[in-house]
Amino acid sequence: MTPQDQLSTTFAALADPTRRAILAKLALGETAVTELAKPFDMSLPAISKHLKVLEHAGLISRGREAQWRPCKLEAGPLKTADDWLEYYRQFWEERFDRLEGYLRVLQAKEKRNGRKNRK
């Protein structure tokens, strides 16, 4: 997968509120599927479907043990999505810093010119 494809897959997986809730729960630690299903008004197969999407996106990994198959949060793809937003935050903070400085210069110039004109 290209980085762009990877990001799309991550976003698609994160676009669903149930899946975000699952990830929030897994952030607290490894959890069994049956345990994960409890807070949701959903069948086990429905939850399994969501888990498959998350697993495909690389957001979670699942243990091999057939019965208990604990789910674990994988931070990698989330980090990538996080980087994307962080990029824009830094982008705009920096632009605004520069604009702030420039406005100060502009206003100082206007003041100087104003004084000159009055003379």
Partner: protein
């Protein structure tokens, strides 16, 4: 452009950033909309903007080069979508090539080709507050949903920044 309040209420907030400037709105508006001003502050720190094209009208383009003292150069562009002086400016922004065509970011990592930025300018007691809403252009539904819903739902790394913003807004409201 129609306000997207309905969707925002359902999905949370889009990418939003706010900053107050100690300058009257007319001056801030000029700084955003005139090439002779933009070239002094637009572009990454350490780069110099060279204005290649500046056509300030709906559908018009601003094409520029960002030159570094190391000799490195990148190109970027705006497409003006909506101009409502001195209150609102909507424009698409992204990287470009030398000829002004939309191009991928010249660095690794995946960011959208273009973002649609809605900038609103409001003045109170001689200070201007800029609020910027930003969304990916031509993104998939999933990307948009992610962008709009992420902040409301995840407990990830943004808490700090938004706390700061909240605190900031409180100060602004109190002022």
């Amino acid at each position: 452009m129609a306000e997207r309040t309905g969707n925002e209420a359902l999905l949370g907030q889009p990418f939003v950033i706010t900053r107050a400037f100690n300058a009257p709105r007319d001056l801030v508006w000029k700084a955003w909309t005139e090439a002779k001003h933009l070239q002094h502050w637009w572009g990454p720190k350490g780069s110099k903007i060279e204005v290649l094209k500046f056509d300030f009208r709906t559908g018009g383009m601003f094409h520029y080069a960002m030159r570094y003292s190391t000799g490195a150069v990148m190109w970027g562009r705006f497409t003006f979508v909506d101009i409502a002086p001195p209150e609102r400016l909507v424009f698409l922004n992204g990287f470009a090539d030398e000829t002004g065509e939309v191009a991928r970011a010249p660095f690794p990592g995946a960011i959208p080709l273009q973002m649609e930025n809605t900038v609103t300018f409001s003045e109170q007691a001689g200070k201007t507050t800029i609020t910027l809403h930003s969304l990916p252009v031509n993104a998939t539904d999933e990307e948009r949903l992610f962008f709009e819903g992420m902040f409301a739902s995840m407990t990830g790394g943004y808490g700090g920044t938004f706390d700061q913003l909240d605190g900031y807004l409180e100060i602004m409201l109190a002022a």
